[in-house]
Structure formats: C-alpha cells, structure tokens
C-alpha cells in the first residue's frame, strides 16, 4: 500500500481490518471502509478502466459514484461503481472494457483513427454493399462497452416495502440533515435518504469542525426520530409524490426498494462538481477537487506527487490545503479568478506529465486538479415538473419552481456559509412538516373514518423562506482547446461542434446524434458542459440552449431490486392437493392450477362415456344474485329470455359486449323467488362481476340486485356418465328420478351428509350429468366420498383435457377459442338464443345488424375425410385450389368415442352448409379435405344421453 497516508482524523477506514481482494487476478490488500477505488489507488493502481470508444486508459476523475472512469466487474456483477462500492474480503475485481488486458488494449487502435470516427460516423458509412452490414454490425457489437453478465447468476433475495412518511428528505448533507431534524421536531415522520455510505455530504471531507457538526446533526436527527437510510438513493419522484428509494444496505437482502407516498419531498441533493474541458482532460491523473479531497481525507490515499491545481472557488482552495497536508507538492496554482487558464495537458499513455498554461508556461506534474464549478442535480425536481433555469452569474442551473409538495434546499438553491445552509434547511424542514400536516389531515378526513378526526385543518403555510445567496462564479466550461465532454461515451467538444454544424443543433438532437449524456452517469457530470459547448458552437446563450430531459432513475437500479420477491398469485381448489397426490399433471389456467389429466385423457373419456367420471370444476365463476330485479338483470346481459325462468330451473345463456362480440357464456339457476346462482367461464369470473356492477350502478341504478362472488365458496364437481345418477343417488336425499329432476333443473339438498348443496343437471360433456356445488370446506370430503362410493360403478376422475375432448365431441364452443375478439354472437350459430323482441340487451344493435347483413363467419363442426388426420388448431381453410383464406380450424382432437378426428371451425357463411367440403391446409403444407356435418355435435346430436 505504497500510496496510503498515515492515519488521520476524518478517515472512514478501519485500519485494524485488512481485506484481501484481487485485481485482474492479482492479490491486493485494502482496509475495511475502503472503496474498491481507494484500495486500488492505495496500491498504486491508478488506471482503472478504458474508455468506451477509443479505449483510452482512464483513472479516477471524481472518486464518487458518478466517476465515469472507474466502473469494474466484481465476480458475476458487471458495471460496479468502484468509487462507491465498499471493499469486501475476497472480492474478485476485474477491469472492464479491455481486451486483451488493461495495460495493452488492441481496440485502443480506435484512438488512432479517432479523427475519422467523429460522432455519428456510422450513419455515414457501412451502407454498401448492403449485404455486408450484418458483418459490420457483428464487429461493432464486439466493441460494446460494459461488463459481462453471467447467465447463471441466481436471482438473489431482493425485497420491497411500502412507506407513508410525512416527509422524505433526499440528501444527507448539512441542509438535508437540518431539514430532517426540523421536520421531525415539528411532528412529522421523516425518512432521510443518503446516497453515500455516511451522512454529512460535502462536510465528510471538510475540516475537523465540519465533521463535528455532522456528528451533532446526526445525533439530533436520531434524537428527533428521523429514520436515516444511508447507502440508499431516492431514485425517482413520480406522480403525487410516489417516491422510489433504493436501499443497498438492509440486512438480509441484497437490495430493497422502498415505495414511499411522501406528503412532502425535500430535495437536498447538493451539487456535483463538474469537470473542465481541455485537451488531455481524460488522462489518468486529471481529477476534480472533490476527488482529491475525498481520497485524502476519507480514504487516506495520496493521489499523486506533484500537482497543478486549477481553481476558481473555495473547493479548489481546500483541495490545495489537503494536498499539502498529504505531502503532495503543489507545482502551480492556476488561479481562475485572476484569469489564468489551463490550455492542455500532455502525458504518457499512463499518466499526465505536463500542463500547458495560457501564458505559455509548461509545468511538470503527475496530478492536475480542477475546481471549476458545480452542476445542480435537479433530476428529482424535474421529475416533479420543475424546469431548471440558468444563472450566468453563479454559472449553474437552478430550480425554477416545483409543485407545493416538493421543496428544495441547500446547495441546489444557492450558496452560503455552513450556518446559512443549515438555517435554510431548518426553515425548509418546518415548511415541509407544515404542509405535510395539512395533507395528513385531509387524508384522514377524506377516508371513511372521517368522524374520528376532531381537530380543524391546520393552516396552509406559504413559502416565506429567505432565499440563499447565489455566489458569483466564473463561467468556466472549456479551455481554448477541445477535450472530452462525456467521458463514458467518449464524446469530445469537437464532436459537439461538428454535430451542431451538421444541423443537430438543438440540445435534444445533439444528444441523440452524439450520445452525449446518454451514458451511465446520465448527464450528472456532462450536461452543463454539453450545453455550454453547444451554446458556444451556436453562438447562443446557455440559458437559451436549455438542458435535456432528466428521467428516472436518479442512479441506476438493479433489475433484481425492481422485481423484488417475485410473487405471482396462484389459485387452488380445495381438491388440488388430492389431484397432485393422485398423479394429476397440472396445467395453468389463468391464475388457477388445475389437473390437465391423470395420465391418460383418452381413457378418462372412455370411462366417462361408459361408466362415470368426476371432474373438479371449481374455477367456474359463480355469482350469487339476490333481489327483485335479478330477472331484469339477466335479460339485460344475456341475449336470450329470463323473465319466465321457473324456480328450480337452469338456463344457458351467452353474453355480448356492446359491440356484439361474445363476452362469456354459462348457466344460471333460479334457486328461489329472488335468488339466483350464475356461472361464468373460469377466466371470465372477475370480468363479469365488474361488468354486472357497472350495469347495475351506472345504467340501472334503480334496480335492486345484490351480487356476491362465491366462486371458491362452492367446490364444484361435475359427475358425468351413464352411471352418474346411480353414483349421486348413493350420496344424496335429492330425488334424482328423471321425472322429478329432469334435464336443466336445479335442486338443493343434502350431499354426502353436507347441507345446503346445490345440484343441477347440465351436460357440457354430453353425458347424463349432475354438477354439484358444495360448501368448499367440505369439497375434498365429498370428492373422496364420490370415489369411494362409486368404486364398483367404475368412477374415475377426469381432467381438463378429457373435458375438452368430450365437449368437442358434443360440439360445444369455447369462448375465446372457437370465437375471437371479432366474433359477434351470430358466429356461434345459436340464432335461437338471440331474442330481438326484448327491449334492450348488451350488444343488441350490433348483433341485430350482423345477423341482418348475414356476412359473418359461423362456427361449424367438420370431420376430416381421412379420419386419422387431426388438423392443427389454427390450420387455415382455403377456397379450393387457391390461397384465399375462408376459415380456420378452431378446435381439433382425435375422438376416442368415434375413433376419428373431429373439429370445430370458423368458416365464411358460404362454406357453412352441411355436406360442404372444406380444403384444410395443414401446418406441414399438405392440403386435406374435411366435410361439414349437420349439427355442431359429432356425437349424440339429439342429446338423448344427457336427457336420459
């Protein structure tokens, strides 16, 4: 550690804890508290990466999170900010963007031809011959910067939480700390979020006295109950102060995303020091004053031996003191305030060696420090609608006005002594707390429990803060030479000049053409310089050029943190554990996990047709409807008639949307005078519930109907097959005699000893069948009883696939499979269900016009002439011998009952008549023929089985 300074006050190192890590495979040591960068520099490694385009060697520039030159790979993690990430024992740190090695990089040859690789050069070349572009592209892609993703990286434990603080303070410098304390003391709940590992902001690398102030402020904040989050970033401010906070140091998790609904947001993000543009400004050894101050004071690192300091402000002055203290000799102070200027630097490949000044002086050095001014990170304020305004006297942008619930303080809004900053923070904190109290009060009143709020609304506080001063600062952006403006994108001021000359002369166009500000630091370092150079090139003012749009996130955020724990709701019937224990293959149907089959769907079909089968149909949507107007409601939503449905009957219906397209179908039973049970498709359950509420609340508010979803309250089991009556008969007191309980009727009674069960006779499978609905707490018991009691009858469970086959044999269509987003009701071919003598029903006009025009497709059943061929669902039906599409197969299966392939298809009307031969194009390109049959049902068209 040859560049390590002796221990000193202010350092954040624990020198008793040495940590071993590797750098490009070489073993090195640092201390607990080091960043990767400080540890590398302490070991004499000052080249940490290479630039994106020209692969120039790069060293520390700002020594903080935004440093564009110190991005490294750590193990399987790419793009780690080495100047922010704390060193850990065993870290394997590798330089990125270098090939074959950091010290020798072949792509650096790009630098030699740099003159030709001006911004946007690729738009102007590689066009001819066209066939070669893919190859060029391949080569360009190899130059992609950044680290490497290890595709086997596991999704670690990331977490999330919601929060409802009164006040969120972004930034833990003196202004932010002071605002947080004041707000908390005024009665607000406060979260203080600091991007760095320690609160204190710029005071951390300040004087002993500064650090004592930080300690005092921190103690006061804790005492006031402020929740302090360090190594955490406010990454975004969204509508209505919805604040995203990334916490990187929560125990037990990799990272945590906090979503806070703040009543007031205080932005105290301070300022970011901006680099200076001149020839050679990206040579290793050229740094900002903030960088050397951090390195020396916080990390005990000596940044060089002999320095030239170009200073326009007190930060430069302070850096000189720090450098002297660290034993760095000051070769020359270039005083910007007296008009002195740096022109350029020269260096070896590895380090700056000499500085040329405007007065012609050439000074030898290995460190060039610039202190040329600040950038205001207005990002969070801009997300709230603020537009930054340039102040030429202070040479930086300032916020111009955010909504009432967002307040800025500290260096972002002005300058001042430490006491001034703290005072401005304090007043801002009080204002934030006062406004938060109003919002809190209104929220309490607006929620339902308003009666519990006794106090009167607090008065709304006007912003009467005394603005901070704005100290004059020279406008120093660029020397008389050109240099790098965007380090991470390798964009120079020359590129900006030539782009402007080509006509890309607005700030947004130049950004897109040159990619300036589009790299990993997103303009934190480069926006102002970009704008300043463009203004120069245009002969315009910085204020007129304006800035590009700042967008979230404030600092890059991992996909892992955004995803958090991946929670995907799934729904299970109470019988699902039984299904799984009994060999069911699960299938996902929407949110439901259901049995697709229990090994052999075809034998499940055969058994059901011959004996009896049971299927768990719990996911079927079920709505309990009560009230005097249920029949009116049903008439309005279904296409058919409902006013005369007798108690004890069920009826099938289809529902249309207002454009006449089939929305859902199902049966509804009348259980009692004013009590009905409606079923919907499984996937339609939620949609139909809100559809009904919409009609009841907005179109027919005078109707009295109570709708309650009971889908999972009732376990639904369909008992199907010729022996279903025998089976159910063993378990129920309901009279199952065909006369007493005919087809399409509903009965209530005792099943397997359970009261209040509902049974109805319907037949999706085409068999004699009873669908029973039992209170779900007993669902599994009833299922098991059915299997036990029916063993001698041959009862077997069947799954979704067998049901699909049987319904196809029976020719029942499925909404969304046999119909699509444009299928109006007449497509189903169920014309008798469309009742035009009713006054009104959803979709009525469109259905009528569609039927009248008669040019809609229809669903038909058809059978391939070669009974062994099962066309794919989606196979197209063509006009014979042509490629004109006249329909498509929508459902298709081999029927175990008929021992032949069977289909449903949607065809144009002209092909819908029984006996029509259809030409079907199989996916493999063969054309086969199929014949339209008379009924939709391939099997038992008269329905004798289900009525029997």
């Amino acid at each position: 550690m040859n560049h390590r300074l002796p221990p000193a006050d202010g350092e954040v190192l624990d020198r008793t804890k040495a940590l071993t890590f590797t750098w490009n495979g070489k073993k090195l040591e640092g201390f607990e508290g080091d960043t990767i960068t400080s540890a590398l520099m302490a070991n004499g490694h000052h080249i940490i990466g290479r630039s994106m385009k020209y692969h120039r060697p790069r060293g520390v520039l700002t020594a903080d999170f935004w440093d564009p030159n110190t991005t490294v790979q750590v193990g399987d993690e790419p793009n780690v900010r080495a100047s922010h990430r704390k060193l850990e024992a065993g870290m394997q740190v590798v330089a990125q963007n270098v090939w074959p090695s950091l010290s020798f990089d072949i792509k650096a040859a790009n630098g030699l031809v740099g003159r030709f690789l001006t911004a946007g050069f690729y738009y102007k070349t590689f066009m001819k011959p066209a066939a070669l572009w893919p190859r060029y592209e391949h080569v360009l892609a190899k130059f992609a910067p950044g680290g490497e993703v290890d595709l086997d990286t596991p999704h670690g434990r990331y977490d999330k939480r919601f929060a409802h603080p009164d006040v969120v303070v972004a930034g833990g410098g003196p202004a932010g700390l002071s605002a947080a304390i004041a707000a908390a003391e005024a009665g607000s709940s406060v979260m203080l979020v600091e991007h760095e590992h320690h609160v204190g902001g710029h005071l951390l690398w300040g004087t002993e006295e500064d650090r004592a102030r930080v300690a005092d402020l921190t103690a006061a904040a804790l005492a006031a109950g402020v929740e302090i989050l360090t190594n955490s970033t406010v990454t975004g401010r969204y509508e209505d102060n919805w604040i995203a906070i990334l916490q990187r140091n929560h125990p037990g998790v990799v990272e945590r995303l906090i979503k806070a609904r703040a009543k007031t947001l205080v932005v105290a993000a301070g300022t970011i020091e901006r680099p200076y543009v001149f020839e050679g400004n990206d040579l290793p050894g050229v740094m900002t004053s903030g960088a050397v101050r951090r390195l020396i004071t916080m990390y005990g690192v000596k940044p060089g031996k002999q320095a030239v300091v170009f200073s326009a402000n007190e930060s430069g002055e302070a850096a000189i003191d720090d450098l002297r203290r660290a034993g760095v000799s000051i070769a020359r102070v270039v005083d910007a305030l007296t008009g002195e200027r740096i022109v350029s630097t020269k260096g070896s490949k590895k380090r700056v060696k000499e500085v040329l000044l405007e007065d012609g002086a050439k000074i030898k050095c290995d460190l060039v420090v610039t202190a040329v001014g600040w950038t205001t990170p207005t990002s969070l304020l801009n997300m709230a609608g603020d537009r930054p305004v340039y102040d030429a006297d202070a040479a930086r942008f300032f916020p111009s006005g955010a909504p009432d619930n967002v307040l800025a303080t500290g260096g972002m809004v002005g300058d001042g002594s430490l006491d001034d900053l703290i005072e401005h923070g304090r007043v801002t904190g009080e204002l934030a707390a006062g406004r938060a109290a109003v919002v809190r009060h209104r929220l309490q009143v607006a929620t339902a429990r308003a009666e519990t709020v006794d106090e009167a609304e607090p008065g709304y506080l006007a912003d009467e803060r005394t603005p901070l001063d704005r100290w004059p600062h020279p406008e120093l952006f660029r020397a008389s030479t050109h240099g790098i403006v965007d380090y991470s994108e390798d964009v120079s001021s020359k590129d900006l000049y030539s782009a402007a000359a080509e006509g890309f002369d607005s700030v947004e166009l130049i950004k897109r053409f040159t990619t300036a500000t589009m790299g990993p630091s997103q303009g934190k370092l480069e926006t102002v310089n970009t704008v300043a150079v463009l203004a120069q090139a245009r002969g315009d003012s910085i204020g007129d050029v304006g800035t590009t749009v700042w967008r979230p996130p404030y600092a890059p955020i991992s996909l892992g943190a955004l995803a958090g724990r991946i929670n995907e709701p799934t729904r299970l019937s109470v019988i699902q554990p039984w299904h799984e224990a009994n060999g069911a293959t699960p299938i996902l149907a929407g949110q439901w996990v259901r049995p697709d089959h229990y090994g052999d769907p075809l034998s499940e079909v055969r058994n059901t047709r011959e004996n009896v089968g049971i299927i768990d149909v719990t996911p079927l949507g079920k709505l309990d409807l009560q009230g005097p107007d249920v029949a009116n409601l049903l008439s309005l939503l279904y296409t058919n008639k409902w006013m005369q449905l007798p108690i004890g009957s069920v009826r099938y219906g289809i529902m249309c949307a207002e454009d006449g397209v089939v929305l859902d179908d199902g049966v509804t039973a009348r259980l009692d005078e004013e009590h009905y049970l409606m079923t919907t498709t499984s996937s339609g359950a939620a949609r139909i519930w809100s559809w009904i509420e919409m009609w009841l609340q907005t179109e027919r508010p005078e109707w009295q109907v109570h709708v309650t979803p009971v889908t999972t309250g009732l376990t639904s089991i369909n008992i199907a097959g010729p022996k279903s009556r025998a089976l159910l008969g063993r378990l129920t007191d309901i009279d199952l005699d065909n006369e007493a309980f005919p087809y399409m009727r509903v009965r209530q009674g005792l099943i397997a000893g359970i009261e209040q069960c509902i049974a109805w006779r319907i037949g999706f499978t085409g068999e004699l069948s009873y669908e029973i609905h039992v209170p779900s707490g007993h669902g599994l018991a009833v299922w098991e009883r059915l299997l036990a009691e029916g063993a001698d009858l041959g009862v077997k469970p069947f799954g979704l696939e067998a049901q699909r086959i049987m319904r196809l044999e029976k020719g029942h269509f499925i909404v969304g499979q046999d119909t699509d987003g444009l299928s109006k009701a007449p497509v189903t071919g169920l014309d008798p269900l469309l009742k035009f003598d009713k006054d009104d029903w959803a979709g009525l006009p469109e259905v009528r016009w569609s039927l009248e025009s008669g040019d809609h497709p229809v669903i038909v059943a058809c059978q391939p002439d070669d009974r062994s061929i099962v066309p794919e669902e989606a196979a197209q039906i063509l006009r014979s011998g042509t490629t004109e599409i006249v329909g498509r197969i929508t459902s298709s299966r081999m029927s175990p009952t008929l021992e032949r392939s069977i289909c449903l298809a949607q065809v144009s009307k002209e092909f819908a008549d029984a006996g029509t031969s259809l030409e079907v194009l199989l996916v493999d390109g063969r054309r086969i023929t199929a014949t339209v049959i008379e009924h939709h049902a391939h099997f038992d068209p008269e329905g004798e089985r289900l009525r029997g």
Binding site: P78, L559, G560, G564, A874
Partner: protein, 425 residues
C-alpha cells in the same frame, strides 16, 4: 422549385476525405424561411410525416410542402420507440401492408444514403399458454400463405437461438413455444427520421421545428367543409391539404376540424439498462408477460411493455412499469438480476379499437389522417409515407391502405388484428 440539390454523399471514402482535410459535413437539412402558403402542410415531424413528405416529392413531384413539428424532429413516438420491425401480423391486410414496409426498410440505407442500421436478427414471440400457442400457429399459417418467413418453434429451438431464456417447465409462465420470424429485427430509429428529413429537404421540402399548429382553418361547416390553411405559433399558412401525422396527439389536431377519431391516447413506456457485453442475439417478445427486449450494438438492453391502462398525455412514466418489467424479464431471463436500469421514458400511443391504423381521407375535404399507430407504427413508417403520398397526390385511396379508412368504424368493418396479443411490436 430549383432547390433540389442532392445532399452531400455519405460514404466511408467521404469520411476519410473530410477527416484528413478536417472538413466538416454540410447541414443535414436547411433552416428554411417561413412561407405563408404551401401546396401541402404535414403536421408532425415523425417518421410518418417525414416519409409522407419524402415520397410526395420523390414519387409524385410535389415539393411545395411544409412539415411542421412543435418540438424537434423525432420528438414524438418516432424518437422514443424501441424500433422493432417485423411483418408477421395476424390478418392478410396487415401482413401485406407491413411486408411492404419491411421491403422499404431493407433498401433504405441505400435509398436514403444514410445507414439506418437495420439489424435483421430474428424476432421471437413467446407463448406461455395453450391459447397463446394457438394464436401463434394461426399467425404463422396466415403469414406462410403470404410468403412471410414465420413459423412456430419449440423450446429447444428457442434455447438454441437465445440461450439466456429459461425454457424449463417448472416456471410460473413456462415457455411452450414461440413464433419465430427471422426477417424481424431492430433499426436505428433516429437514423430513419433523419434520413427521411434529409431526403425530403434535398427535394425542397421545408422542415419547421418548434412550430406548433394551433388551429386548422376551414371553409364550410365544421366536420365537413374544406381545409384552407393552418394557424401556427409562427403565423398562418394557407394550404388546401393538411395531413395529420401526429400519432399520440392525433385527436387534438382532428378536433380542430371536428373530426372525431376512434382513438384514445395512452402512454407506452420503455427503458434501457447500462451496457454489458452482448449476449442476446434476437428480439424477444412475451405478450402474456407484457414485455419485450432486445440488445443494442452498444450493449444496452432495450425494454418495452404494453400501454399504460389509463389514458393520458403525460409522459412522466411510472415506477410500476419498471417493477413489472423487471419481474417479468427475470422470469424469462433469471440470470440478469444484477443488470441495472439506466433510464426509463414514455411516449404517447394513439390506440384504436382494432389495433390497426386510420389512414386516408376524412369528411373534411383536404384533411387527411395517418394516425392510429398505437404501439406498432414505427415499422409502418415507410409504407405509410409511400401510400399516403399516393393517396394525397392522386385523391384515391390505394388498395394497401383501403382496409384502414376511418369509415370502417361507422360501417362496422373492424380489422382483425385485435386477435393478436396486446404487446405486438
């Protein structure tokens, strides 16, 4: 007009030449003087407006055109889209239309003498359910009949083409298959915009940035009548023909002549990650998971989703978008959890009920629309420009865009693209 001087030729040799002589390139387009009268005014300087102007000039010799945009060229959807190009649509109308666009894209770098970096890398639409797979088959079959390279592939083939995808079966949304469309890919969206702008400018078309249309001047009854000019923040322009190419803002322009559109404006959001070495060779789309992703040559992953549910003109973007995006992307590619999102943004989409555009004449004479581009309109830029130019120049609606006329809504002849998943691209 006399202005049409071909633009400075871009080439590698030119690059070298100017590099050696330290000479800069001439402007891509002029800063024209504001005139008070034009033959045609096109509102919207996105790909649609600029392509229409370009083809009016190039194919029909009409060059007295003003293209006006209230911000910078490409500031709308054209500058903020994820630039996915494909032609494997669901309906024959859609397929024929988008395939023509793909053809125009293929020769564009040459035609416009500007590299638009069309990367024909292959487009995968994943199916996670039976019914999605059925739709994929349906699309593939329709595509094949029209000679489009499009087929359904199985998980093993998906893995071979895109190793970062998790094709195991024990996931919440197992990948059951995909519609594979080898000619699909991505393009440098900005380059397309600049290419058309530069090309149109060379023919003498005047491009006005920072010029906002405040009203459309008409004679006769509102809602019928005829167009006489437009009012802008820079002054009035008289013109007999106005073409509305404002995508997300289409309704605001049409409202100026009382033409109601079947459009609602919804934000569509996108995001990029920090760059990493390239690992994702194809464009991957998952309709059920509402996400799509591709990797640029610079190494960033570019993500998109489906539109936000609430209609708004606010382009602020939401946190929820990034949360859902991340969780869904990680379900598809679990290995990238440590990659970081760098920037999110939003654009406005002019959504129609049948996921198809609205193109051609309106009841107001001289007022044409080329709108309803939803989430898929970038890829249609070239063909739309070509066809709208023909429509305006001849007064007849060409057959390629006939199915997309505004009148189809009142006539009840919607286009069947609604059958395809909401995230199309």
């Amino acid at each position: 007009m006399g202005k049409n001087k071909p633009p400075a030729k871009y080439s590698a040799a030119g690059l070298l030449w100017r590099g050696l002589r330290k000479q800069s390139w001439p402007r891509v387009w002029r800063e024209p003087e504001f005139k008070n009268s034009y033959d045609v005014v096109i509102i919207g300087g996105g790909v649609h407006g600029l392509a229409t102007a370009y083809y009016l000039a190039a194919n029909h010799g009409i060059t007295d055109i003003a293209v006006v945009d209230r911000a910078y060229l490409g500031s709308g959807g054209s500058g903020r889209n994820t630039a996915i190009v494909r032609s494997n649509y669901l309906t024959p109308e859609g397929v024929a239309f988008y395939d023509r666009s793909l053809d125009l894209y293929k020769s564009m770098s040459n035609d416009l003498n500007l590299n638009v970096m069309f990367s024909e890398r292959g487009h995968l639409t994943l199916a996670h359910t039976d019914s999605a797979l059925r739709t994929m088959h349906w699309r593939a079959e329709v595509n094949k009949l029209q000679g489009i390279d499009s087929s359904v592939i199985d998980p093993a083939e998906i893995k071979r083409l895109t190793p970062s995808l998790d094709v195991s079966t024990n996931t919440r949304y197992p990948i059951m298959g995909a519609l594979y469309h080898p000619p699909g890919g991505t393009i440098r969206h900005d380059a397309v915009v600049w290419g058309y702008a530069r090309g149109a400018d060379a023919y003498g078309v005047d491009l006005f940035q920072q010029t906002e249309v405040l009203d459309i001047l008409t004679e006769g009854d509102h809602g019928s009548g005829r167009v006489t000019g437009v009012r802008t923040n820079k002054g009035d322009i008289s013109t007999p023909i106005v073409v509305n190419c404002t995508a997300g803002w289409a309704s605001t322009i049409s409202a100026m002549v009382d033409v109601q559109l079947p459009i609602t404006t919804h934000p569509l959001q996108a995001a990029v990650t920090e760059p990493v070495k390239t690992f994702l060779p194809t464009v991957v789309v998952s309709g059920s998971l509402h996400v799509y992703v591709s990797q640029t040559d610079r190494g960033e992953l570019v993500f998109g989703a489906s539109v936000d549910p609430v209609a708004t003109y606010n382009m602020g973007g939401t946190l929820e978008f990034t949360e859902e995006l991340a969780s869904h992307v990680l379900e598809l590619m679990p290995g990238i959890s440590k990659m970081r999102l760098l920037r999110q943004w939003a654009g406005l989409c002019d959504m129609t009920p049948d996921y198809s555009p609205v193109m051609g004449p309106t009841p107001v004479a001289g007022f044409y629309v080329d709108v309803g581009w939803g989430t898929y309109g970038f890829k249609a830029g070239p063909v739309s420009g070509e066809q709208m130019a023909a429509c305006v120049a001849t007064g007849e609606t060409p057959h390629l865009i006939k199915p997309f006329e505004l009148s189809r809504f009142t006539e009840g002849n919607l286009v069947g693209e609604k059958g395809a998943a909401a995230v199309g691209h």
